[in-house]
Each structure stands twice: as C-alpha cells, then as structure tokens.
C-alpha cells in the first residue's frame, strides 16, 4: 500500500469510528438542544456534574460491577480457552468439526434465546440474580470467542520450541511459563481483550439473568436512557465506551494482525 492510500484508509476508519461519538459529546455538554438546530442551543456541564455528584455513587458502583464481571469472565474465558485452543490448534482428533459447530452456536443463536434458555436452569441452580450467574451467561458468549482466537494462535504455533526448551533443561512447568506464555502473549492479550469487551457490553443477558440486581454499567445506562434525560445518557455512554476505545488504541498499537497468527 502506498502512503496516500494508507492515510486515506486511516481517515475513513477514524471517521467511521468517530462519527457516532460527535453527537454523543455534543449531547453530553448541552443544556438545551431541540430538533432543527445543528448545534445545542445552550451549553453546560449539567450532565457531567450529575453523573459525577448526584448519580456519582451509582455510576461508580456500576463501573465497579462491570469491571469485576468483565475481568472475571475474561480470566475464566482465557483460562479455559488456552488449553482448549491448544488442543484444537495442535492436534487432530475425532469430532473436531463438531466442536467447532458447537462453539459457533452461542455466536449464531440470538443472545436473547441463550439467556432465556439458561434462565430456567439458573433459577433451579440458584444462580439467577447472582454475580456467578451473570458471569456464567457472559461466558457462553465470551468463551467461544476466546477459544476461536486461541485456536488460531495455536494453529500457527510450533510446539518444537517447547521440545527444544525441554532439551535445554526447562521443566514442564518452566516450558509453560517461560516459553509458551511469552510466545503467545500477543494472541492471549487479544483473546482476553475480546472476552473483556464482550462481557463489558452485555446488556440483555445481564438483565435477564441478573434480574436487575446485578447493575452493570449497561444496565444503568439503559435505566438512565429510559428516564429520557438525553445529556446524562450521552455522558454515561461516553464513560461506557471509554475502555473499548482505550482497548482499540492499545490493540492497534501493540498487537496488530501479527498477534492472531502467533509467532514462529
């Protein structure tokens, strides 16, 4: 790609990503903004002061819940996805195609169905309206993604590195911590990031399984939107996308496409 083409692609991507954010930012700083106006009629910090002070505790608590749920979900997804992706990427075994079909199911089937279906089970298991239940339902979406990413990573992974390390004196454990993990770190980060963001943005499943008791940021966001206060909803939305934005910048900078193909 020539430089000008690359620059143009950059601008297109920036615009596509940035377009929805413009109005959000304007909304969050507006006091009054009626339809025909291209611009808010009155500016102000009301929305931001509201979420910082009046609703501050609520927002902070919701961020806390979201972070905990997303972090635990991502950790579990990676912890299970790593051995699963390794098995799928490195070995051939009977039923491998079946596994890949089963893994795509939660991605294809609408989340509503998955959540509704699981709800009945979770009530019986006492998982409804609990953190564990919410993390459980998030995992049904996050785990397949994590497995798919790590499957790709291990398809391009050369296990001879591990044999070489063993011969050079590394124990089984040292091979995992000193060779495998550093080698797949970029891909592993992507898998964790995907899982985290996917869990972070779950609304419907959280609401159904959490029953309104587990108030993550999206749950609060929808509640605020329902109240019809546009500027506040816009401000909360911006808080909500902040981690995704940071993650996007991080992944563009550090991982790129190389991470998905592993290291040779």
């Amino acid at each position: 790609m020539t430089r000008s083409v690359r620059r143009m692609t950059g601008w297109i991507v920036m615009t596509a990503v940035g377009l929805p954010f413009g109005p959000l930012i304007l909304w969050s700083f507006s006091e009054r903004w009626f339809f025909p106006g291209l611009w808010p009629q009155a500016w102000g910090l009301r929305a931001w002061t509201y979420i910082a002070s009046t609703a501050g505790m609520q927002v902070m608590a919701a961020i806390g819940h979201s972070v905990v749920v997303a972090a635990v979900t991502a950790a579990i997804a990676v912890a299970i996805g790593l051995p699963a992706g390794r098995a799928l990427g490195l070995y051939t075994f009977k039923g491998k195609d079946l596994v890949s079909v089963i893994l795509t199911l939660p991605i294809i089937v609408p989340p509503l169905c998955v959540a509704m279906g699981l709800h009945l089970w979770f009530i019986r298991l006492g998982l409804a309206e609990t953190y564990a239940g919410v993390i459980g339902v998030h995992l049904t979406f996050c785990l397949p993604y994590a497995i798919f990413v790590l499957w790709g990573v291990f398809s391009n992974y050369n296990p001879e590195f591990e044999a070489q390390a063993r011969s050079l004196g590394a124990s089984r454990l040292a091979v995992i911590t000193r060779v495998m993990l550093p080698m797949i770190l970029p891909g592993l980060s992507v898998a964790a990031l995907f899982a985290f963001l996917l869990s972070w943005s779950q609304y419907l499943s959280t609401l159904i399984i959490g029953g309104g008791r587990v108030t993550t940021l999206p749950v609060l966001l929808f509640a605020l939107m329902g109240s019809g206060d546009r500027p506040v909803a816009a401000a909360v939305s911006l808080v909500f996308v902040a981690p995704a934005f940071v993650a996007l910048l991080f992944s563009a900078r550090y991982v790129g496409t190389r991470s998905l193909t592993g290291v040779h």
């Binding site: 590195f161 004196g169 124990s171 080698m183």
Partner: protein
C-alpha cells in the same frame, strides 16, 4: 565424560515401526555422523536419545547409565534442531543463556559463560541483537551456541546446516569441526548429505530403512561398502553380476583377476566407482578395454559424468577430461584392483 550407547533401540509411531533393533556406540570425544536419506528415522533417533520421545524397546545409556524414564531436562544430552528455533522474545545472549538460567545458575556466571561461547562461535558484537535481525547463518550459530554453552555429555545435532547455502554450510562445517576438536565434546551429527558426513566425522553410521547398514570410518564406508545399497547411497552406479573361478571374476562385463577368494562358483555382485573407470576415444588398435558408445554426458564442473552403452549394459564413468560427446565411440577399462566384490548374499 561423554559416552553414548544405544542398544537394540526400537521406536514406532502408532503401529508403524520406524526404528528396529538399532545398536550404536559413540565414544567419549568422538564425532559420529548418522547418515541417511530423508525419512530414514534420523530425527526420531535423536529425539529418543534426548528424551523427547519414548522408545518402544531397547535401551539408551549416557555415561554408562540407562536414561530410561529420565525426562529430557535431566539428561546430559542436548539436541539442536533442524530449524534454529530461537525464542523470539529474547535477544541473542538471553537465548544463549536460556539453559543456564533453567539450571538456576547465577547471573554473573551465566554472562561469563555466554561471552565465552559468543567468542567461540564468532558471534561477538551480536549479543544484544533481536533474533529476527540475524541472518540464517547467524541464527544457526546462536542455536549451536545455546546448546554448546551447557557443555552436555552428548551434543545431538539434527541437520543444523541444511537450511544454509553452500558457502555458508562449508564455513559452518569447519566451525563445528574446530569447536569439536577444541572442546572434545562428544557429538552425534545427523545429516542426509554424504559429503558432510564424510568430511566432519570420525565415524559414519549409515541408516537405511530404519536399520544401521554400516558403521565405520569415512574411507571405509566410501571405499568398502558392506552391501550394494550402501554403495548406491554413496553414488555407486555400476553393478556387475558374476562368479568366482580360481581367482578370476567372470562377469557380464568381462573377466577380472581379483586374487584368491572363497566360494568358488558362487554368484557374487561387484561394483566399481564411476571415477575409477578409465575412458578413452576408440582407436584402430584396441587397448584391451570394453568397446562402447556414449549415450549421455553431464558436465559437472571439475568432472564430467558419462553414460556409456556397452554390449553387456550401461556403465557410468566420471572423468576429469572434457571433450567427450554423445554418440562418440569409446573404450572403457575397469581396473581389477578397484573392483569391490560384495560378500555372498
């Protein structure tokens, strides 16, 4: 001390037996080449010695002790793979120091050993380089250094030069030879390249179809192959069928005086190396050789390979003279003293 003994080794992948009843001794300070065509099972044998693969039978002894059940990291045998396999997240000296760190050696001491090996493998000045900033030859030297620094009883080298170009390969061979004679490290060197094996090693072990066909000094294998297949592996092309009668070998290509032999009247196979056959253009008066016509010539630089059709069959001749042409009438002579008679089949 660095002594390797392989006894009745058998290895199979699933139901397929790759190695059967293999015996091989590598003595202290010796450089032995394990030579064989692709797929013969050379890598498989090295992996078994390194502990990366469980044999299905037989025994492996390192320094006189059986290593059955000993994990690779506890064996005093280090394997260098066909590909350099340098850890991409470490620089050159971190790669070389990897094994020492795994042994829990102190940082200062590790650095000292690494510096010494860097000098030995002519890698000074590259210690801080990232591995992807190295040339193929440099990468291969780092891989070698990473194993050498551990001073193992046995160094197992799996075709470490096969990915290099001809000039670089020659330089690396000389480097390995120098290092071997300086350190007296016991080495088992795997290659499919016969000239590499002949040049580098004290002894050559030829592996064909999962069995060792002949083990011996390079000259012995080259000049006195144990059977026709060994001869073929070393470039043997001319095989005669005949029988012995009172010190004479009666073959389809003529009668040759081979001295007293056992087994009068038995059918025996014989071979002659292409470079041992003499070839001259045919003249009016015969010099007592076999008459033939040139079928094909292949110019190979320092020599020309010529296929000659005689009445008894085709002979391949290698000559340093140039100027022979296809279709030309020639006379070839087989010196009886260069004829190698194989034992009774």
């Amino acid at each position: 001390m660095g002594d390797l003994r392989i006894e009745k080794l058998a290895i199979d992948y699933g139901a397929r037996a790759v190695i059967q009843g293999l015996d091989l001794d590598v003595h202290d300070g010796e450089m032995v080449s394990l030579l064989g065509p692709s797929g013969a099972g050379k890598t498989t044998i090295l992996k078994a010695v390194a502990g990366l693969l469980e044999p299905s039978g037989g025994n492996i002894l390192i320094d006189g002790h059986s290593v059955r059940g000993v994990p690779p990291e506890k064996r005093n045998a280090v394997m260098v793979f066909q590909k350099p396999l340098l850890f991409p997240f470490m620089n050159v000296s971190q790669n070389i120091g990897f094994g020492l760190r795994m042994r829990g050696q102190a940082g200062g001491e590790t650095a000292r050993h690494v510096d010494h090996i860097l000098a030995l493998t002519r890698l000074e000045g590259l210690s801080r380089r990232k591995v992807h900033e190295l040339s193929g030859g440099q990468q291969q030297r780092v891989a070698l250094a990473r194993a050498l620094v551990l001073k193992p009883s046995i160094l197992l080298l799996d075709e470490p030069l096969s990915n290099l170009d001809a000039t670089l390969r020659q330089r690396m061979r000389e480097l390995i030879q120098t290092i071997q004679s300086e350190t007296r490290m016991t080495m088992l060197f795997v290659t499919h390249d016969q000239s590499e094996a002949l040049m580098l090693s004290h002894r050559v072990a030829l592996l064909l179809d999962g069995r060792l066909r002949q083990v011996g000094a390079p000259r012995q294998l080259f000049h006195h192959p144990a059977d026709p297949e060994v001869a073929r592996f070393f470039g043997g092309k001319n095989f005669f069928q005949g029988h012995i009668q009172n010190g004479m070998y009666h073959s389809d290509f003529g009668v040759f005086a081979v001295g007293p032999q056992d087994g009068n009247g038995h059918l025996r196979t014989a071979t002659i190396r292409p470079e041992d056959i003499r070839i001259v253009p045919r003249r009016a008066e015969s010099s007592g050789g076999l008459a033939g016509r040139i079928v094909k010539t292949n110019f190979e630089g320092s020599a020309t390979r010529i296929v000659v059709a005689c009445s008894a069959g085709e002979l391949v001749v290698l000559t340093s003279q140039d100027g022979f042409l296809p279709g030309q009438e020639v006379e070839v002579t087989v010196p009886p003293d260069k004829l190698r008679l194989f034992p009774d089949a």
